[in-house]
Symmetry: C2
Subunit: 228 residues, 2 copies
């Protein structure tokens, strides 16, 4: 195979890989959206669809891993291309965990609907919207190699953390005042933690994007350190 053709093939395969990652991100995000929507509406049938709907994400998880291996084995990419594929391996893991977290949210939501609602849910859908937006932006940043967008994702994590703390404090007050709220409030606390972790995964993706584009490792405040 001629060298230019080889490069073209590789780039085509890389684009396909990115498209599959975007697809997987979309599916995982939709699972999160449906789980939280089911929680807010008390819609048990909707929640149960999330619980049985993890197969497409899991199938893509395996497929994307295989695509990464094939690209590494066949094309032996270097520099930014090598970093793109290793990043894809990591992002794939992050997205699969987001799918798992959607399941965890749905499990807690299903338990929650057994009890009378503790309160009208406002901050949890807000957390979900932020986490979903972070995930979407992080994946867009990956596909477009956009480090400025990745940096914005990193900055949003604090907002999610503040909401989680606020939700915790508020629910604790309910629990202390009325023991009947303890069990459902516990599930809301767990859900807020799951949403926070989705934000963490978006943050991981954003860090991978910055590393991929600039070979700069921004994890653990290692900002100035040069990498391969």
């Amino acid at each position: 195979m001629a060298s230019t053709e080889r490069i073209r093939h590789f780039q085509e395969e890389l684009e396909r890989l990115k498209a599959r990652l975007l697809e997987m991100g979309g599916l995982a995000e939709e699972q999160v959206r449906l789980a939280v929507q089911g929680l807010v509406a008390g819609d048990r049938a909707g929640i149960e669809r999330v619980l049985t709907g993890d197969q497409p994400v899991n199938a893509l998880h395996i497929e994307i891993d295989q695509r990464c291996f094939t690209l590494l084995a066949l094309y032996q990419p270097m520099a930014v291309d090598l970093r793109a594929i290793v990043s894809a391996v990591k992002i794939n893991t992050d997205l699969e965990r987001v799918g798992d977290l959607a399941i965890n949210i749905a499990e807690a939501a299903l338990r929650y609907t057994v009890h009378p609602p503790v309160k009208r849910l406002i901050d949890i859908p807000k957390m979900a919207a932020i986490a979903q937006g972070m995930l979407r932006d992080a994946l867009d940043a990956f596909v477009r190699r956009d480090t400025a967008l990745a940096q914005r994702v990193l900055n949003e994590d604090d907002e999610l953390d503040a909401l989680k703390t606020q939700i915790f404090r508020e629910l604790l007050t309910y629990m202390l005042q009325d023991p009947a709220t303890i069990e459902p409030a516990l599930d809301l606390i767990l859900i807020s933690r799951h949403l926070e972790r989705i934000g963490d995964h978006a943050t991981n993706v954003a860090e991978d994007v910055i590393f991929m584009v600039s070979a700069r490792d921004v994890r653990h405040h290692a900002g100035d350190q040069a990498s391969i």
Copy 2:
């Protein structure tokens, strides 16, 4: 560089990579052990040492990632060697998360020690011992390419899950009987979830080992599927 010498160099670097992963696993596991020990003993100084002790794990996280990139770029390994390095990238991520979870446990433990103890802690140290053992076994399985040991790790996850459920039920009873226990009991519930997640990371490592050795993907019950 002659081909046999090149292979020897690669194998030496791979051994060094494995040694660093073992070291990182040992550090992360020690952080978990110290956090739970501090919790059980109500030892705030011990817990605070965990909170400030994450630097070595984080430094290894970055170093190991760089080693993986260098190995991929310089040697362009194939088959089981390629799978070993991609597995190392993933395992590195898992171990870093275990280090983070040790911090999360220590944070909750520190809050816990402010209150009178809810109960004598038996099941949480038991969970910690199981999770630590799983992690150690999974890393040993990686280094020795021992799929039988990896499979045993996968089987242990159920025990951890059962303990988590038992802890949750017991603490819920305390919370319902005495509102003064709500806040500290919440922290114990969170700690049990963090320990469960450490078990999940050990499970991830074990799955990677099976994939690395046999090119068989056992995730998402994809057991029979052939991979590259």
